[in-house]
């Protein structure tokens, strides 16, 4: 467990177990609160990147120093001293002891009260997070279906169009007015099927009445694949991804 020890004039003020993301600053919503005019409201933050911990200055007025060198972003090593105003934070990478005392060391404000981080501080902290994202992650492997537009093509039955593009987050098939594909008939459910679009593709959910997917009765959800045949309310529709 890594620990930051807050000191002023060689006096130990407090110890903090280093969490995945902690902020240092003057305002009470920080993890490490240093109520001193030399410290900016959100002065710096320390976050974990893999096995390492990194300190980043949040464009503070007086700067953040590691071992007396001014830094914007620096990986912390055992024994490093982070200087914020006149306060020193000593980084101890392999501190002995159990992590159990940790909650007691957190400032009271982080326990229950919800706070809103607004304005420039918010932007800066988010920027840190997003920067890290850019560094840590290469783009996740896209599946073939990702982002592709799905269409339902009418094979048999009577409807007002021969092809329906599934552009919405939810496309409905049924008797109701808000449906994309309108079904007729007294015993037709208001909404027979909902097709929802997500990052990975399309999911069909049967909501009422009888429905077949590839000639099999469908009850729950079904992830739509190229060429799936849907039979509902007297219509036969084929699902495909648009090239």
């Amino acid at each position: 467990m890594a620990i930051l020890t807050l000191q002023r004039d060689d006096c130990v003020l407090k110890q903090y177990a280093v969490g995945p993301l902690m902020t240092i600053g003057r305002l009470p919503d920080n993890t490490v609160v240093i109520d001193n005019p030399a410290v900016s409201s959100h002065h710096a933050c320390v976050f974990r990147a893999g096995a390492a911990f990194i300190v980043e200055d949040l464009q503070s007025t007086n700067g953040t120093f590691v071992n007396d060198k001014r830094v914007t972003r620096e990986t912390l090593h055992d024994g490093d001293v982070v200087l914020v105003g006149k306060h020193r934070l000593v980084f101890d990478e392999q501190a002995a002891g159990e992590s159990t005392g940790r909650d007691a060391e957190l400032p009271a404000s982080s326990q229950g009260d919800t706070v809103y981080l607004k304005g420039p501080e918010n932007q800066r902290l988010l920027a840190v997070v997003l920067n890290a994202e850019a560094r840590a992650h290469t783009a996740p492997a896209a599946t073939a279906a990702q982002g592709k537009l799905g269409v339902l093509r009418l094979v048999s039955g009577r409807a007002d169009q021969t092809e329906y593009a599934l552009t919405g987050h939810t496309s409905l098939i049924g008797r109701s007015q808000s449906t994309l594909i309108r079904l007729k008939g007294w015993f037709t459910p208001r909404v027979a099927v909902a097709i929802t679009r997500n990052q990975l593709g399309y999911v069909a959910t049967r909501l009422g009445g009888k429905m077949l997917v590839n000639s099999q009765p469908m009850t729950g959800r079904h992830d739509l694949k190229d060429g799936d045949v849907l039979e509902v309310g007297g219509l036969t529709l084929v699902f495909s991804f648009k090239q």
Binding site: P20, T23, L172
Partner: protein
């Protein structure tokens, strides 16, 4: 809550700020007013939210109006300056649940024996998880659980996250404040639904569990049990619709 309309809202006023309690009350009132008033004008807003159903667009507009309302109240009255609240709301019509949320109150759907999160917190910690900085488990212990990057009532305009999900008989929708989710892990939420299968008992159990785990914050839970297919709906659409609120230690509560 307006169960007869399929409308359910949880708002959690911000602790540590003045008038958090008032903000959450105002948010609900303003939302309901906006939805009532919006009946005629619903279509006019469909441009801002392409691809969503009309009901979802109306719900989003109600949340935005609620935000403007709280913001302007906060600007006028110094005693209420800086008030804010989270909101998670669901509106179920024709078996589609529209969900609109801002902040860290959450919605889950229990569907075919699985609990699916329907919302993502607007918190610094969640942003960290999304960025790959924190893993989900570490985020649970992160000290900055409480730092929100989006709330209702603090800025003149707010982005509202929207989603739509079809619901079937046997599904459960769960709306809750962070007072529950910070104290009770998701496995426990799932277990409660799986074993109890009754909205009231799930609510009671979860509030108790949160308090047993040292619940220090307000806890609000709504469990909606989806019953019946289209032909049953008229007589018995919601077998149970329940709302329960429990206040924890007054020294720590909002």
């Amino acid at each position: 809550m307006r169960p007869e309309q399929g409308l359910f809202v949880v708002c959690d006023g911000m602790g540590g700020c003045p008038a958090g309690e008032i903000a959450s009350q105002l948010a609900v009132t303003a939302m309901l007013q906006a939805l009532d008033a919006g009946r005629e004008t619903a279509a006019s807003h469909s441009v801002d939210e392409p691809g969503f159903l009309p009901q979802t667009i109306r719900l989003a507009e109600a949340v935005r109006q609620s935000n403007r309302f709280i913001y302007s109240r906060g600007q006028r009255d110094p005693n209420q300056a800086g008030m804010g609240t989270t909101v998670v709301s669901t509106w179920i019509a024709e078996q589609i649940a529209s969900i609109a949320h801002v902040g860290d109150s959450r919605a889950y759907l229990w569907h075919s024996d699985r609990l699916e999160p329907l919302t993502r917190d607007h918190s610094l910690v969640e942003a960290g998880v999304q960025a790959g900085l924190l893993d989900r488990e570490a985020s649970l212990g992160a000290p900055q659980q409480n730092v929100l990057v989006r709330v209702l009532g603090r800025e003149p305009d707010v982005d509202v996250d929207l989603s739509e999900v079809p619901v079937q008989a046997g599904d459960y929708l769960l709306l809750c404040s962070d007072g529950l989710t910070r104290m009770v892990p998701e496995q426990t939420l799932a277990q409660a639904v799986f074993q109890l299968r009754d909205a009231q008992r799930i609510c009671d159990y979860l509030v108790d569990a949160a308090n047993r785990n040292g619940g220090a914050d307000n806890i609000t839970v709504i469990v909606v049990e989806v019953a019946g297919t289209w032909w049953k709906q008229a007589s018995n659409r919601w077998r149970r619709r329940l709302f329960r609120r429990a206040d924890g230690d007054p020294h720590l509560a909002a």
